[in-house]
């Protein structure tokens, strides 16, 4: 599967493209929405387009509570994460109430790969609004020092017990698992065209 990789810088450019007041839907697939990612996104939003980021951790929420909280938030960009803990019924409940998500904010659904599939399957109405706007979060090598890139590549190599060459070979054959880490790996190697 060839989900499009996008850096935080590009995601913010897309958010900026959304006419003000219109609700936006976007899905970000990554291994986790860690504090570092949230911090980077917040910083980029403020620097690039002077907008604030609302963050909602939804794991303990019902779909109804999520909608209620969204309707009272004043942030024009909201990152929703923690869906991995949700059951099918919660996704279905959110789906039938899709109209109530239309608050004029830009909504970023941050999910891991497995949860992305469950959300899209259980929530076809939300899928229809997301359309092709599903991205794998990728690092931006141009903003990283060579040592940072090397360290991260080493980390990935240790974690998966694979070398860069093996990853490149498997990517060329199209048989890398659809795990966001491999997209990151290829981007760091400067071979984002092989992301599968």
């Amino acid at each position: 599967m060839n989900l499009k990789p996008a850096t935080i810088f590009e995601i913010v450019r897309l958010i900026d493209l959304q006419p003000p007041g219109q609700t936006g839907f976007c899905m970000l697939v990554s291994s986790s929405a860690g504090q570092e990612f949230i911090g980077d996104l917040r910083e980029e939003l403020e620097l690039q387009i002077a907008r604030s980021l609302g963050v909602m951790y939804v794991a303990e929420m019902t779909a109804d509570a999520l909608v209620d909280q969204l309707r009272t938030t004043e942030d024009s960009v909201v990152l929703l994460h923690g869906f991995g803990a949700w059951g099918d019924d919660q996704f279905i409940s959110l789906d039938v109430n899709r109209s109530r998500l239309e608050t004029g904010a830009f909504l970023l659904f941050s999910v891991d790969f497995r949860t992305a599939g469950r959300l899209l399957d259980d929530a076809p109405n939300i899928r229809s609004f997301l359309g092709p706007n599903i991205f794998v979060i990728a690092p931006d090598p141009s903003s990283m020092r060579p040592q940072e890139i090397a360290d991260r590549l080493n980390q990935l190599s240790m974690h998966y017990s694979l070398s860069d060459e093996e990853v490149l070979k498997r990517a060329a054959r199209g048989d890398l698992p659809p795990e966001p880490h491999f997209a990151e790996w290829l981007v760091l190697l400067g071979r984002s065209e092989l992301v599968r």
Partner: protein
């Protein structure tokens, strides 16, 4: 043929792309799109006019618009509303049920309560209501939002003298009786309706949002009691329903309605029908893309209107991120691939294998819940009652998947 830059001053690139995004926003409310003239009229001509004509000529008729997600049901209902507004004696009342209440917990009576509150709003905008009307409104309000009631134990004491047990009869009615609370609610709505009828105004209730209940049983469990209670009031009803009503057990629900209009995917091939291409032109797609790219998007959309809008928008986003001034072929292909991947995500091995067999020429019939799900989630599109195809964007990514799917 390259796009020729206009001789007029080229506005700021960001503003140009932003304006494009505004016209191609798949999440924009249909009412806004209609107001901004972004709906291609010829395509919707027949259905919304038929809906409005039947509601006008047959008071008390109940009509349903069904179709897949993103097929334009809301647009049809809103355009029917616009058409009905031009008739002086008709008062259309549009109820977006999904906005009025939490649809995942909705139960019988919710349609009537929402309708009653909106009729009241319409009445008070024009008239000074009498006490009788206010009383009816109060009953509707309580049904909608509840009230503090006497504790059960007190009520039991109050009614203990007249307590009785109902013995079930041998003959079950063919339709379940209308529940008492729903009947009472309908009586209150009837008071408001009679007031308007006496002043020469006929109500048409337009219920939108129920199509989100994609399971036909769930849809009917919410709608049945209310629709049957509304019928004798001679209020015409237009409603949106899910695609599942057209198949399997859903067909029994279909039979209830006086008329059911089915919105299938549009003809995707611009050589056969200009509808999708004209929709793109109407929204000004040609400002950023060439006609051959537009034709490519039409085909890849499979005729699903919202997918067409999403594809055009995404092609624009890809061009913007690439710092291109216009959409190039690569941006169109990326958009199609991204849409295909969004349909691919979540599919299990067996589903992929089934879709691959359909691509290879096997027949398809939504004969079981698993197959029906592929249709409802738009991975399979119905081209006619007996012809189905894999969504073209999904087909493109499926055929590029490596290896034997069964071994995945």
């Amino acid at each position: 043929m390259p796009i020729q830059p206009s001789t007029a001053a080229i506005p700021d690139r960001r503003q140009r792309f932003r304006a494009f995004m505004k016209r191609f926003n798949p999440t924009a409310p249909a009412r806004v799109a209609i107001g901004e003239g972004l709906i291609y009229h010829d395509a919707v001509l027949s259905v919304f006019r038929k809906l409005a004509a039947r509601a006008d000529l047959g008071p008390g008729s109940q009509q349903l618009v069904v179709g897949g997600i993103g097929s334009g049901k809301t647009t049809q209902l809103l355009m029917a509303e616009q058409e009905l507004v031009t008739h002086e004696q008709i008062l259309p009342v549009y109820v977006d049920v999904s906005v009025e209440t939490d649809l995942s917990n909705v139960s019988s009576g919710a349609l009537l309560a929402s309708l009653g509150l909106l009729i009241w709003k319409a009445i008070t905008a024009e008239f000074r209501p009498s006490d009788a009307l206010s009383k009816a409104h109060e009953a509707i309000w309580i049904a909608a939002y509840g009230e503090d009631t006497t504790p059960l134990s007190d009520r039991l004491l109050d009614h203990a003298a007249g307590y009785s047990i109902r013995m079930t009869g041998k003959l079950r009615p063919p339709f379940p009786a209308i529940r008492r609370d729903v009947r009472h609610l309908a009586e209150s709505v009837s008071v408001l309706n009679t007031f308007l009828r006496d002043r020469g105004r006929e109500l048409v209730a337009i219920f939108d949002g129920l199509d989100r209940l994609i399971n036909a049983d769930r849809f009917w469990s919410v709608a049945e009691q209310d629709l049957r209670a509304i019928k004798p009031l001679e209020i015409s009803v237009l409603a949106a329903g899910p695609l599942s009503i057209m198949y399997g057990p859903g067909r029994q629900v279909k039979d209830y309605f006086d008329e059911v209009y089915y919105l299938g995917p549009a003809i995707a091939d611009p050589k056969v029908s200009n509808f999708l291409l004209d929709t793109l032109f109407l929204r000004g797609a040609d400002e950023l893309m060439r006609p051959n790219q537009m034709r490519r998007l039409c085909l890849a959309s499979g005729g699903v209107l919202r997918d067409l809008i999403s594809l055009a928008r995404n092609a624009g986003e890809n061009a913007y991120l690439d710092d291109a001034d216009y959409i190039e072929d690569i941006h169109v292909e990326q958009a199609i691939e991204q849409l295909g991947n969004s349909y691919l995500l979540g599919l299990g091995t067996q589903q992929k294998a089934l879709l691959t067999r359909v691509l290879e020429g096997d027949g398809f019939s939504p004969s079981d819940p698993e197959r029906l799900e592929l249709l409802i989630t738009r991975r399979i599109l119905e081209q006619s009652e007996s012809r189905y195809e894999v969504h073209p964007a999904l087909a493109a990514v499926l055929t590029s998947l490596p290896g034997d799917l069964e071994l995945e």
